[in-house]
Amino acid sequence: MTTGTARTLSEKVWDRHVVSSAEGEPDLLFVDLHLVHEVTSPQAFDGLRLAGRTVRHPELTVATADHNVPTTGLDQPVADPVSAKQLEVLASNCAEFGITCYPMGNANQGIVHIIGPELGLTLPGMTVVCGDSHTSTHGAFGALAFGIGTSEVEHVLATQTIPQPRPSTMAVEVDGALPAGVTAKDVVLAIIGKIGTGGGIGYVIEYRGPAIRALSMEGRMTVCNMSIEAGARAGMIAPDDVTFSYVEGRPHAPTGARWEEALSDWRSLVTDDEANFDKTVRLDAASLSPHVTWGTNPSQVVAIGGSVPDPDEFADPAVREAAARALEYMGLSAGTPMHEIAVDTVFIGSCTNSRIEDLREAAGVLEGRHVHRGLRALVVPGSHRVKSQAESEGLDKVFVAAGFEWREPGCSMCLAMNPDKLSVGERCASTSNRNFEGRQGRGGRTHLVSPAVAAATAVVGRFAAPDELP
């Protein structure tokens, strides 16, 4: 907690959204943007109907279909009747309550955390919420953005506010410069490996330091996206010229005098020099290398040159037991070098890594190469806009020539709510965010990696970094 007038970035954004504040109550915060998708909203709309309530600010609410949508055959009816119904219910709820909705096939449709930023709906200094834990992604713009449950979705729809206890503040300082071939994904995996899946609980993380400043907006979104995997509901990065040039000219971004007004405001969104964080974690970028998870939570991660750890190495009995159980589920033995582990499938996609830069990174590795024989490889762009951009750059042709399937946008195999799933025992190198048991399909084995490592792994058939390719 900061004393005096000096404040951290998150405190500044928090303070400017306080609608009411009373002793013994959580602050009531105004919500500038409420993103909605098909999975966590139906029961919230039902709640509004039951209570006879309306949506207070439909114009501050934007919906899209992402979790359930198939990634092939968009001209066909959705085969799974339960998914089809959920998609229909989203459309009808949005129509009833006057909310803009981008359904399957719409040019603006995509993963909710991809479309907010690309449409310029996510801007610095805003509060953004969504019934999805990866809402932390939007913090890359210096927005205070966090995931909420369905009861809270209903609350925000009805009131455009959300009661929240003030979180603690954590600085994650990434000093130095990243070595070539080490990406934002490796940075955030290393951070989670360091602080654990619960280390960020109760905190808003601010990512700072030269290595963070050097990241593109896409990279910053990847880092903030996985804040929740360290337990932090929100992760933030102070906006700067990289942010402003990404935002300028996007469909919903301000223009003219409004742009100038916004810009001068946004430049104040930095942590004051005198401000204190409740906790600080430091990482040396120069020491990092590409990372791969070996277990069933994202903190179970090693450098790609490392090996599957021996559970007995862990002092904490709970960690040790979790490691042993993870190895059993993952079908791995302690001491096996990561480079020797063969994969069946490679998935490039998800709100963590399906932006244009991620696709460029993977395509750059795949150019002139081909996926390993028998390996299944798919790339699922985060949105129709990303897909179109990639196609205009010819990236789709690179992927297809390399043996990848080029799919339609959606959450896809990140959480296996659509037909893209792993089967029992199938091992996948995935650019997504969660390696939980069964996350990509019942019995499936997920290893989280960067797009570059995913591409190199697809070529070799075993975990590999691009600089190891022949």
Partner: protein, 200 residues
């Protein structure tokens, strides 16, 4: 939400750390548009193993789940809370909870009882050793007790949430007491803030 004052009952020991919400309710179940019927999906992949603790007859009918650290991290799915409640749980005890789950729980009246790691360990051991052990969780006092095992402790709950739980108050109703403040705030918002109206 129904008021919750005291929960008394037997407990199930789920002696695992990092039980994420994907395990509590796998994503296949999230396609449903209803709020009820999720109990059948609770830990559904683990329950297929007949040795899983929830399948043990001696723990049938328990109303309290005692779990390891970092329970309910991961996804924001409130379905995890609905599934636990639909199955019959009224409280979950763990040394640490995922933030979103914890908030979701208190919106529905499922008690998230965060205990010191040492007490969490002792409760897991005591419940495993004696499935008939009765636990009592008192919301007003913020206490958890298992007298037969000689165990007792406290858990944190902010006063606002405590009052909400004790009285079963509707969150939206509480917020709308501040409607004037909301309207005042709305009048101060910056002109550059975006809306869903398409500008180009």
């Amino acid at each position: 939400m129904r008021p919750v004052q005291v929960v008394t009952g037997r407990a199930v020991p789920l002696d695992r750390s990092d039980v994420d919400t994907d395990q509590i309710i796998p994503s296949d179940w999230l396609k449903r548009v209803e709020r009820t019927g999720f109990g059948a999906g609770l830990f559904s992949e683990w329950r297929d193993d007949r040795n899983f603790v929830l399948n043990a007859p001696e723990f049938a009918g328990a109303t309290i789940l005692v779990a390891g650290p970092n329970f309910s991290t991961g996804s924001s799915r409130e379905h995890a809370v609905w599934a636990l409640m639909d199955y019959g749980f009224e409280a979950v005890v763990a040394p640490r909870f995922g933030d979103i789950f914890r908030i979701n729980s208190t919106k529905q009246g499922l008690l998230p009882v965060q205990v010191e790691p040492d007490l969490g360990r002792r409760l897991l051991d005591a419940v495993s050793a004696d499935p008939s052990l009765e636990l009592t969780i008192d919301v007003a006092r913020g206490t958890i007790e298992a007298p037969a095992a000689g165990l007792a402790g406290t858990f944190p709950l902010d006063e606002f949430t405590r009052e909400r739980l004790l009285n079963g108050w509707d969150d939206i109703g509480l917020t709308m007491r501040h409607e004037d403040d909301i309207a005042t705030y709305e009048g101060t918002r910056s002109g550059w803030m975006p809306t869903s109206a398409v500008r180009r």
